[in-house]
């Protein structure tokens, strides 16, 4: 059995009211290295809350979250920032690229804070963009890129620091079916290369690419039968 990248023990998130909203009820989940997990559920089910907790963008109200064996729920912001920058790559539905920066500069942004020597930054970013098939669009600004290309830039940005975990929030949500298929092929390829991937989606076609599916409904997490192998 592979060592877990993610281990949730009774992790919960309640937004204070009134009335209080139990966005995520106490959940247990183990995701091993190299896993490809889809988290599915309808709108408002708590998918995004789970993603934000996994991405260390939010703090749980109960339970603990172990990332690479390290309990993150008690860490100060400094260490959470460290982990965000080095161990986690997040791909957002809306890409969140800086409009005035080129594709290369958007990827370079991810290396700005994590002590990567200046001399190696550009090469690492170029390599990341090449890995997602955008080696020829380095100097294009997001307004000159298609939706699919923007999402690839976002993936390159998430990958450039070689994180242990790639979190994708509705990665195909803003893409047409052709671009969506190409993107999912890319994620499959990354997973087969060893990346641990968690995809949040309500799209069953996207979820079908994953090796495990976890459903979430009204804040309650449940492993789908027959998909678990971690």
């Amino acid at each position: 059995m592979t060592a877990p990248v993610i281990e949730l023990r009774g992790l919960a998130r309640t937004y204070p009211g009134p009335p209080p909203v139990h966005a995520l009820r106490p959940a247990d989940l183990v995701i091993g290295a190299g896993d490809y997990v889809a988290v599915t559920g309808p709108s408002g089910s708590g998918k995004s809350t789970l993603l934000h907790l996994l991405g260390l963008l939010d703090t749980p109200t109960a339970g603990s979250y172990l990332l690479d064996g390290l309990d993150t729920s008690t860490l100060p912001d400094r260490d959470r920032s460290t982990l965000r920058g080095r161990r986690i790559g997040v791909v957002f539905q809306a890409f969140h690229l800086l409009a005035y920066r080129t594709a290369l500069e958007n990827v370079l942004l991810a290396e700005l804070y994590n002590r990567t020597p200046r001399s190696t930054r550009v090469q690492a970013s170029v390599d990341a963009l090449r890995a997602v098939g955008l080696g020829h669009r380095l100097d294009a600004v997001p307004t000159r890129l298609s939706g699919g290309e923007c999402q690839r830039v976002a993936i390159a940005r998430a990958l450039v620091n070689r994180p242990s975990l790639l979190l994708c929030d509705e990665p195909t949500g803003n893409l047409d079916s052709r671009n969506a298929a190409a993107l999912m092929a890319l994620l499959d390829q990354l997973n087969s290369g060893g990346f641990t991937i968690v995809v949040i989606t309500h799209d069953t076609k996207v979820a079908a690419h994953a090796t495990r599916t976890v459903a979430i409904s009204d804040g309650i997490l449940s492993e789908q039968a027959g998909t678990g192998h971690g």
Partner: protein, 423 residues
């Protein structure tokens, strides 16, 4: 157990990286950056220009003041300790008859002479020869002046000649008129050749010269100068004593820088037996004079410049705050790739500070340009105090730093989740 942060060193944003991000933030939105800077450009520009123009103008005023004041010494006859004059008369003036020559022997004296306003009974008429179609005047200042005093006055002549030593020594009834009085009395400069006369209570004085202006002593536009000895013969001794405004005075033109020394030497030289009778007034220190002029104006304009700067600060602060709100998504992305709140604050602060500094630099250049062009157009010497001018761009820096502080703090406090949610 693993160290906090998984054994990884905490995120870092080097000064170089922060500066590069700030520059990128500015150059990628040049239009917005320009508008944001405008307030600081105007504020710092106004600051430099106002102080520069003030210093240039004051320097010009001071130079005009000082050239004359710096080289003028006056000595007033305060009268003898024991007045032994006959009732109804005044004691002899405190200056010896060869006062001009004595003063001339002092090193640094260019010209010197004795003069006094002649006291005339009220209603004394000044009128020209009947043949001249002038009017009678009662408002002419009649001044007695030695040849040295006439020279010291540095008159600008319109016609004729100055009062001569011969005319003084022989107490001739001659006079000089200023051009305004001359025209009032109907004496045109071209008529001087026919020796026109002015009657003062019946005594005729032949006009030998008409002047338009004077550098010393004569300030009113209605003056008539007669030789010192003529005045003594016709009107007797003037009343001594400071404050009578009729006492005999000596006016001395000195070389530049010699005034203080001349002032020390003149009284004992002129009146060795009773030097204290003569009250010497050396020129005011030119530095002090300049300081007074500069201090008043600079203080006022400094306040105006500070108001401009405040407006500039509000401009930068406002735009930076809008930028923070507008770039919430960017803050979220940066936090998601490892930036700490302090890095976000540093980035926005660096941007506003860079904008302020750039605005300060441009403003300083514009301000200096205005001063130089203005001074050149007036043929003046541009005076730019380095104490104000050189650090002026730093004013922009401080303005940018202060104005960016609140928006930067606000940006730092934005939680990554909120930032991404509202992006």
């Amino acid at each position: 157990m693993a160290r906090p942060g998984g054994g990884l060193p905490p995120p870092r944003l080097t000064v170089r990286d922060a500066a590069a991000e700030a520059v990128a933030g500015i150059v990628q939105r040049p239009g917005r950056a320009g508008l944001t800077m405008l307030g600081t450009v105007l504020g710092v520009g106004a600051f430099v220009a106002i102080l520069g123009l003030t210093a240039t103008g004051a320097g010009q005023i001071s130079r005009q003041f000082s050239v004359l004041q710096d080289t003028t010494v006056t000595v007033a006859d305060n009268g003898p300790a024991n007045d032994v004059a006959q009732p109804g008369t005044y004691p002899a003036i405190g200056f010896p008859s060869d006062a001009d020559a004595i003063a001339d022997h002092i090193n640094g004296v260019v010209a010197a002479g004795v003069w006094w306003p002649v006291a005339l009974p009220e209603g004394t008429n000044f009128s020209a020869s009947q043949a001249l179609s002038g009017v009678t005047s009662q408002t002419v200042d009649l001044l007695a002046a030695s040849p040295g005093a006439v020279k010291t006055m540095d008159l600008t002549m319109v016609a004729g000649s100055r009062l001569s030593a011969y005319e003084n020594d022989t107490a001739q009834h001659v006079a000089m008129l200023d051009s305004t009085t001359a025209s009032t009395l109907g004496i045109s400069p071209s008529r001087l050749a026919s020796h026109p006369a002015v009657f003062v209570n019946g005594i005729a004085y032949t006009i030998v010269g008409v002047y338009s202006s004077a550098q010393r002593v004569v300030s009113s536009s209605t003056g008539m100068l007669i030789p010192e000895k003529t005045a003594l013969a016709d009107y007797g001794h003037p009343e001594p004593g400071i404050g009578t405004y009729e006492e005999a005075q000596m006016v001395i033109a000195t070389k530049t820088g010699a005034a203080q020394e001349v002032a020390r030497e003149i009284a004992p030289a002129e009146l060795p037996t009773d030097p204290k009778r003569l009250v010497v007034t050396p020129p005011q220190s030119p530095l002090k004079l300049q300081g007074e002029v500069n201090g008043d104006l600079a203080g006022l304009f400094l306040i105006l410049a500070l108001i401009s700067l405040l407006i500039g600060a509000v401009g930068i602060g406002n735009t930076t705050l809008v930028a923070v709100l507008e770039r919430t998504g960017e803050i979220g992305v940066r936090r998601s790739v490892g930036a700490r709140p302090r890095h976000i604050a540093a980035q926005f602060l660096a941007e506003s500070t860079a904008l302020g500094t750039l605005g300060g630099l441009i403003g300083t250049c514009i301000g200096v340009g205005i001063v130089v062009i203005f001074a050149a157009s007036k043929n003046w010497t541009a005076v730019l105090n380095p104490v104000y001018t050189l650090p002026a761009p730093l004013i922009g820096t401080v303005v940018g730093l202060l104005a960016g502080a609140y928006p930067a703090l606000r940006a730092a406090r934005t939680s990554p989740l909120e930032a991404l949610r509202y992006a």
